[in-house]
């Protein structure tokens, strides 16, 4: 793998960064955040016009056929700007879950819609216990005629209240599978949860004999690793922005007749954050470089990147508030939006402690019992 980017990849980053700055500056983020809608359909269609949802979807399904690195770049930039959209849910979660499956019919049916943004999808793993451990899924799938019906309650489903298509992890005869549930069906009820992160909606999803289609040959382990890699990218995008904000402020805010950034107490905080953010970037880039490869290396890299970048993001978000002082504690300053996203991302698809525990097994430090 290569740890640096091609010119096309750098151009892509520039494009997304400009898009975020022009179409979704802080004021826009706040407008959507405080509106009843989960995300702005106009902004979503603008994102779609740039072809961003289809970036990593194979060309035969209407995508651009680029790889995990390009997807990571987009997610990192959207995370940096806290742009509110179902991109992560639809493209990084559900899109990759479908792409990595062996179900040709399901791919042909849904991927083109995800690629052109006309279908918004998401992935439902956790239930009311708040665990994203695949084995903890209790929702059941039972055969009914040609199809399946699902019963159970999923929770903390990102954009679950607005998604047209929900890919649900459920148990059929003691075996975990992935099942597609479309919005229009009976027996599906979703309700938005009141969660700390105001820039991403989460929902409870009730399934009462909800008709579903099984996604054949779904690769749940690979899906999880791809999801973790995408989350790491979002986290490091946000963490990098927190450091930038803190440094920008420390350069101009004066106390005792000098910029506060000239004090070592502030410098050392910022230097420590730089060490963490650059390390997290290296971990995120590496994970996206090996994403989808068979073998334990990709799984280790994904779990590591997610756990590491989660800690970095939360630390950076907290230090950003601290360096801003009183102004950082106000509602009108964006610092709290990043802290809330950081905490939300930290638990989404498993906490750092859980992933480190998985790493203990994956690396052989804790021998299998």
């Amino acid at each position: 793998m290569s740890a640096s980017f091609t010119e096309d990849q750098e151009d892509l980053r520039g494009l997304v960064r400009r898009f975020c700055a022009e179409r979704s500056p802080s004021g826009e983020v706040r407008r959507v955040m405080e509106s009843p809608e989960s995300w702005d359909p106009k902004l979503w269609s603008q994102l779609t016009e740039l072809g961003l949802p289809g970036i990593a979807i194979p060309e035969e399904y209407g995508g651009a056929g680029a790889g995990a690195v390009e997807l990571m770049i987009v997610v990192e930039e959207l995370g940096r700007a806290l742009l509110i959209s179902p991109y992560l849910s639809s493209v990084a979660f559900a899109g990759q879950a479908l792409s990595s499956s062996g179900d040709e019919a399901a791919k042909q049916r849904w991927l083109p819609g995800i690629a052109d943004g006309s279908v918004v999808a998401t992935l439902a793993v956790a239930e009311e216990t708040g665990s994203w451990e695949l084995d903890d899924a209790a929702t059941t799938a039972s055969r009914s005629g040609d199809g399946w019906t699902l019963n159970g309650t999923k929770s903390f489903v990102t954009d679950g209240d607005t998604a047209d298509l929900l890919l649900v992890v459920a148990r059929a005869d003691d075996e975990l599978g992935l099942f597609a549930v479309e919005r229009a069906v009976s027996g599906l009820r979703t309700e938005k949860l009141s969660m700390v992160d105001l820039t991403r909606d989460m929902a409870r999803v009730r399934l009462d004999d909800a008709p579903a289609t099984k996604v054949e040959q779904a690769d749940l382990a690979t899906t999880r690793d791809l999801v973790l890699t995408a989350l790491a990218a979002e986290q490091i995008g946000g963490a990098g922005r927190c450091l930038e904000m803190a440094v920008e402020y420390a350069k101009v805010r004066e106390q005792f007749g000098r910029p506060i950034g000239s004090f070592q107490a502030i410098k050392h905080k910022c230097a420590d954050l730089l060490v963490e953010v650059e390390s997290g970037r290296s971990a995120s880039y590496y994970a996206s470089g090996v994403a989808g490869q068979p073998g334990v290396e990709a799984a280790v890299a994904a779990a590591l990147a997610k756990a590491y970048c989660a800690d970095v993001y939360t630390h950076a978000a907290k230090e950003n508030i601290q360096i801003h002082g009183g102004i950082g504690f106000t509602w009108e300053h964006d610092a709290h939006l990043y802290l809330k996203r950081a905490k939300s991302d930290e638990v989404l698809f498993g906490s750092p402690a859980q992933h480190r525990s998985r790493l203990a097994a994956l690396t052989g430090i804790r021998e299998a019992r």
């Binding site: 740890a3 230097a271 650059e278 971990a283 590491y308 430090i365 021998e367």
Partner: protein, 387 residues
């Protein structure tokens, strides 16, 4: 003649390092120096010394990609590097700023380890604030007369030649009154004393200069122009070895994991969690190194990841050794002299030794200032002397 491919270059190195491997590192200090010198002379004579140095002074002048290969094979073979600190620090400075005569006189002999060079920069009153140094060099015709004291000089007791920073301007002139002077360690008036450090050993020395006469021809760069020469490196030679450092710590960590497993300690989830934390950090070190090397080969610049490597590594080695000592409990406190010490007391020694990791070559605090100012662009402290 056809060009040697990267693979051929690698196997030529591997073959040479295997065939001529100098054997285990002697414990005795004197024997160790002789062992190191003999190996470096052998490398030099075979044209395999100084990967980043110009060919005319005995180096190999390799491309960056080849330097990476060289460093990988060098680390893999576990052969000794050059003695003391000359090749790594003074060498690049002379290559860049030395006169032709100086380069010819000094570089090949340094690289061949015929002459061992050691750094003499810090002083009792000038550590982090190196620009406050007080060792004076008074001009007397074609000579300088040097007086003063240096301290914390790694392996200066092994050195034939000392490369120093001395004051040729007024004390107030700070960095504008400092010259870079090369001093014969065996000259009259030079006294090098090993300094016992907290490990009980003595890697560092203190040096006293009492009316030491040094030819003006042994000054590198302009008089009072020594400060700019201090942090010279050749291209990205240090980055070429970045992967090896990660590989070396991978090895050390694997040894610790093995030890913990043998002792049944990994049944404790807290121990497991700490070991995973170190595993993560060592992998991140490797990812950083890959990013730096990739960035140099594609963009010609090491990029932001390079500025943080040292901070990351110095903390890692401290934390790792301390954890190992804690893991061993009371047994971990047995010294190297004890026959019962686990693995000859290496973890305790490492715990003590790595206290210096966040002090030498710029304290952690100074490094964080530097990173904050030079990478993040935070303002200088107005209370500090002007730069």
């Amino acid at each position: 003649m056809t060009q040697e491919t990267d693979a051929e270059f690698r196997s030529r190195l591997r073959e040479f390092f295997t065939r001529h491997h100098p054997g285990r590192r002697p414990r005795d200090k004197r024997e160790r120096l002789a062992w190191q010198r003999a190996w470096n002379a052998k490398l030099f004579d075979a044209g395999l010394a100084g990967p980043s140095w110009p060919v005319e002074y005995g180096g190999m002048d390799l491309s960056f990609e080849r330097q990476v290969i060289y460093q990988e094979e060098f680390a893999r073979a576990r052969v000794p590097g050059p003695p003391a600190t000359g090749v790594g620090i003074a060498g690049p400075t002379i290559v860049t700023y030395g006169t032709e005569e100086q380069k010819k006189r000094w570089l090949p002999a340094m690289l061949r380890a015929d002459k061992v060079w050691a750094q003499a920069f810090s002083e009792p009153g000038a550590g982090s604030d190196l620009q406050a140094l007080r060792t004076t060099a008074r001009r007397d015709g074609e000579e300088y007369v040097v007086n003063g004291q240096k301290v914390w000089n790694s392996r200066a007791d092994e050195a034939d030649i000392l490369f120093t920073l001395v004051r040729t301007g007024t004390q107030e002139s700070r960095q504008h009154g400092i010259s870079y002077l090369v001093i014969d360690a065996h000259a009259p008036g030079v006294e090098v004393r090993p300094l016992r450090d907290l490990t009980g050993g003595s890697d560092f020395c203190e040096i006293f200069f009492d009316d030491v006469r040094v030819p003006v021809a042994d000054r590198i760069g302009e008089e009072n122009g020594g400060w700019q020469l201090v942090r010279t490196s050749l291209g990205h030679e240090r980055a070429a070895g970045a992967m090896n450092q990660a590989a070396m710590y991978r090895r050390v960590l694997d040894e610790l994991i093995r030890l913990a497993t043998e002792r049944g300690a990994t049944a404790d989830p807290l121990v497991c969690d700490r070991l995973v934390e170190f595993d993560v950090r060592v992998r991140v070190m490797r990812y950083n190194a890959m990013r730096i090397i990739d960035s140099i080969t594609t963009a010609g610049e090491p990029g932001p990841a390079s500025s943080i490597s040292r901070i990351l590594i110095s903390r890692f080695e401290q934390d790792l050794h301390e954890f190992a000592v804690d893991l061993l409990g009371a047994t971990g406190l047995l010294t190297r002299e004890s026959t019962e010490a686990v693995q000859s007391g290496r973890w305790l020694y490492g715990f003590l030794r790595t206290r210096a990791s966040t002090i030498g070559a710029g304290t952690l605090e100074i490094q964080r200032n530097t990173v904050a100012e030079q990478v993040l662009g935070l303002p200088y402290d107005p209370a500090m002397p002007a730069r």
